[in-house]
C-alpha cells in the first residue's frame, strides 16, 4: 500500500505489507548502526530482545484469537514495532523495562484492538510512554556518547552491557571500581535543567553539550533512512517534512526572541526523538491521518505539542505523548481534510452538505 497516488496504467506487482515493513526495517539500520557506534551495545541488545519478545507475543495473541499465525507474523509489523521501540528506549534500560514496553505495545496497544490496521495508537509509542511514566528512573539510563575527539570516555563493552541490562549496574561498579558513572544526561535534558544558567553558558560548560556531535550523527542516520523510504515511495514527504519545518519554525521564533532561554532549532531537530519520530513514527499509515492535507495537520500538531512539552512541560522530550494525542485527533482530522473526489467541485468538508455535486 504505497501512499502515493499514481495515474494509470497500474500494471505492477502488488506490494505486500511484509515488503513495506521490510523496507522500513532496512531503513532503520543506519540509525541502529549509529546508536550502536556512539552509545554502545545496549541498543543492539535491546533490539534483539524486543524483536524476539514481540514476535513470540504476537504469535501467542494470534493463536489465542484463532487466526492463522504464520500469515500474520510474516507481515513483519511486530518486528518493526519492536525495533522502533528498542531504538527509542535508553541503551541501558533493564531487560524488564523493554519486556514491559513490548508487552504493552503488542498485546494491549495492538492485538486487543484487533491487530494490525485496527490500532488507534502507534503501538511503539504506547509501549514507550507507558514505561516512561512507570519507570522514570530506569528510563534515564542514557549513556554519554563515545567521544569523537579524545579518550575521555569509553562506552561499556559487550559483556558489561549485558550485565547492566540483565543483571544490575552495581555489579559493574564492583567489577570496575574506576568507573564513577556510566549514564549521562541527554542534551535536551541538560538544556531543560540549566540550574539558572543561560543556554549559552550551558553550551560552554556542559560535557554533554560538548559531545553533542554524536547526537547529530545519529539523527543524520535516521534522516538518511527516511530519505531512502521517501525515495522508495513508502510514504510521501508531507508528514515528516511538515513536522521538521514546523518544529524548526517555532523554535527559531523563540530562539530569535530570547536566545538565553530557548534552545536553537538545530538542537530541537537533531537531538532527542525528532528524526526518529519524523521518519518512522509520524509516518505510520495506521494511526496517522490519511490524506496529504491531513498528514500536514497531523504532523504540525505533533511538532507544536513536542515544542510545548519540551520547553514548558515536565519531560525533556515528548514525541510519544505528542504522537498519541494526535493519534486521538486523526479521525477528526480525516473528517475535515477529505480530498476532492473526481467529479466533485469541492472536497467534502466533513459537514453534511446538500449540494456538493457538480
Amino acid at each position: 500500500m504505497p501512499h502515493i497516488r499514481i495515474s494509470s496504467p497500474h500494471v505492477q506487482r502488488p506490494t505486500k505489507t511484509a515488503d513495506i515493513m521490510r523496507l522500513v526495517i532496512i531503513a532503520t539500520l543506519p540509525g541502529l548502526f549509529g546508536m550502536t557506534f556512539f552509545f554502545g551495545w545496549g541498543t543492539l541488545i535491546n533490539v534483539v530482545l524486543a524483536s524476539v519478545m514481540a514476535i513470540s507475543l504476537e504469535a501467542i495473541c494470534i493463536k489465542l484469537r484463532r487466526r492463522p499465525v504464520l500469515f500474520y507474523v510474516r507481515d513483519n509489523s511486530a518486528l518493526l514495532t519492536a525495533i522502533l521501540l528498542a531504538l527509542a528506549l535508553p541503551p541501558f534500560a533493564p531487560w524488564w523495562v523493554t519486556a514491559t514496553a513490548v508487552f504493552v505495545a503488542i498485546v494491549i496497544a495492538k492485538q486487543i484492538y484487533g491487530g494490525l490496521g485496527q490500532n488507534p495508537f502507534n503501538p511503539a509509542m504506547v509501549g514507550y510512554a507507558l514505561v516512561l511514566i512507570s519507570f522514570p528512573v530506569e528510563m534515564t539510563r542514557w549513556t554519554a556518547p563515545f567521544d569523537l575527539n579524545g579518550n575521555t570516555w569509553e562506552v561499556l563493552g559487550f559483556a558489561d552491557t549485558l550485565t547492566v541490562i540483565f543483571g544490575s549496574w552495581q555489579e559493574i561498579i564492583q567489577a570496575h571500581p574506576y568507573i564513577d558513572s556510566f549514564t549521562s544526561a541527554t542534551p535536551l535534558d541538560t538544556l531543560k535543567h540549566r540550574n539558572g544558567l543561560t543556554v549559552e553558558e550551558v553550551w560552554q560548560s556542559s560535557e554533554v553539550m560538548a559531545n553533542v556531535g554524536a547526537w547529530y550523527a545519529v539523527s543524520l542516520c535516521y534522516f538518511v533512512g527516511g530519505i531512502f523510504l521517501i525515495y522508495r515511495k513508502i510514504y510521501t514527504w508531507h508528514a515528516p517534512l511538515t513536522l521538521l519545518i514546523t518544529l524548526a519554525l517555532i523554535s527559531a521564533i523563540f530562539f530569535a526572541i530570547d536566545p538565553d532561554n530557548y534552545a536553537d532549532p538545530l538542537i530541537h531537530l537533531t537531538t532527542g526523538a525528532t528524526m526518529l519520530g519524523a521518519f518512522f513514527i509520524v509516518t505510520d499509515p495506521v494511526s496517522s491521518a490519511t490524506s496529504n492535507r491531513g498528514k500536514v495537520v497531523f504532523a504540525a500538531g505533533i511538532a507544536i505539542l513536542v515544542y510545548i512539552v519540551r520547553t514548558w512541560g515536565n519531560y525533556p522530550d515528548a514525541l510519544a505523548f505528542a504522537v498519541m494525542l494526535m493519534n486521538l485527533c486523526a479521525p477528526f482530522i480525516d473528517q475535515y481534510t477529505q480530498p476532492r473526489s473526481y467529479g466533485y467541485k469541492k472536497p467534502n468538508s466533513g459537514q453534511p452538505s446538500k449540494e456538493n455535486h457538480s
Binding site: T100, I108, L130, I133, S134, F135, P136, V137, E138
Partner: protein, 238 residues
C-alpha cells in the same frame, strides 16, 4: 402509578443480579469515579466499598420506607437529600473512627453522594419495593461493588507496589498491622498501575474476564441468557 410495579423481590434473583448478572461495577458501569480513583490499594478500596455499601443500605431503606409519601415530581432532590444526609453521617463516623483513612480517601467520601449506584438503586428498585427487599438489594449491590473494588485494589496494589493488604491497620486497628504481605522483595514499583490509567486498563480486563466466564457458562448450559444485559430503569410512568 409508582409503587405498584414489583421489579424483583425474589431474594435469589437479587443475589445473582447484585453479585454477577447486574453487578454495579462490571455490568452497569456505575460509580466509576471512586472505582478508578481510590483502588490503588486494598485498604482504600475496601474502606470506600464499605462506606458506599452502608450509604446504599441506608438510602434504599429510607427511600423504600417513604416511597408512598415522596411526590413523583420532586423525587430526585429528595433522594439526593436522603443520600447526602447519610454520606455526611458516614463521613463524620470515619473522621471519628478512622481518621487517617478519612484523610487518605479525602474528597471521595463526600463524593459518594454523586455515586450513580446509590441514586440508581433508589430510583430503579427501592422506590418500587418493600423495605426488606430494598434493604437486601442495597446490601447485595453494595457487596457486588465492594468485591470489584477490592479485586481491582488487589491487582493494582500487587502490580504497583508489590505488596498486598498494606496499611490494613488504618481500617481494622492495630491487629491488622501484620497483615501486609510482601509479594516481591525490592520491587521497583510499576507506577502505571497506581495511576488512574492503570485502573481503566485493570477494570477493562476484569470486565473482559467476566464476559469470558459468561461465554463459558453459556456454552456449557447452551443458553444465551447472560447476553441480555439487565438495564436500569431510570424513569417510569412517562
Amino acid at each position: 402509578m409508582r409503587g405498584q410495579k414489583i421489579v424483583a423481590t425474589d431474594y435469589k434473583t437479587l443475589t445473582i443480579n447484585g453479585l454477577w448478572k447486574n453487578n454495579p461495577a462490571l455490568v452497569q458501569l456505575l460509580g466509576l469515579c471512586p472505582l478508578l480513583a481510590v483502588t490503588a490499594s486494598v485498604v482504600n478500596a475496601l474502606s470506600l466499598g464499605i462506606a458506599s455499601m452502608l450509604v446504599l443500605i441506608g438510602s434504599n431503606f429510607a427511600v423504600s420506607a417513604f416511597r408512598h409519601l415522596i411526590p413523583n415530581a420532586v423525587r430526585l432532590p429528595i433522594y439526593v437529600m436522603i443520600i447526602a444526609a447519610l454520606v455526611t453521617s458516614i463521613e463524620l463516623l470515619m473522621q471519628a473512627l478512622t481518621y487517617e483513612l478519612y484523610l487518605i480517601l479525602g474528597i471521595f467520601i463526600p463524593l459518594i453522594v454523586t455515586n450513580c449506584i446509590i441514586m440508581g438503586r433508589a430510583e430503579a428498585f427501592a422506590a418500587k419495593n418493600t423495605i426488606s427487599a430494598a434493604l437486601y438489594d442495597g446490601f447485595i449491590m453494595g457487596l457486588g461493588f465492594t468485591i470489584v473494588l477490592v479485586l481491582l485494589g488487589a491487582i493494582r496494589e500487587t502490580l504497583g507496589s508489590g505488596t498486598l493488604f498494606a496499611d490494613m491497620h488504618l481500617l481494622f486497628g492495630p491487629i491488622a498491622s501484620t497483615w501486609k504481605i510482601v509479594i516481591i522483595d525490592d520491587y521497583v514499583g510499576f507506577l502505571f498501575a497506581i495511576l488512574p490509567p492503570g485502573a481503566f486498563v485493570g477494570l477493562g480486563l476484569l470486565i473482559a474476564l467476566k464476559n469470558l466466564f459468561d461465554q463459558r457458562i453459556d456454552k456449557k448450559t447452551g443458553k444465551t441468557s447472560t447476553n441480555q444485559v439487565l438495564r436500569l430503569e431510570t424513569s417510569n410512568d412517562i
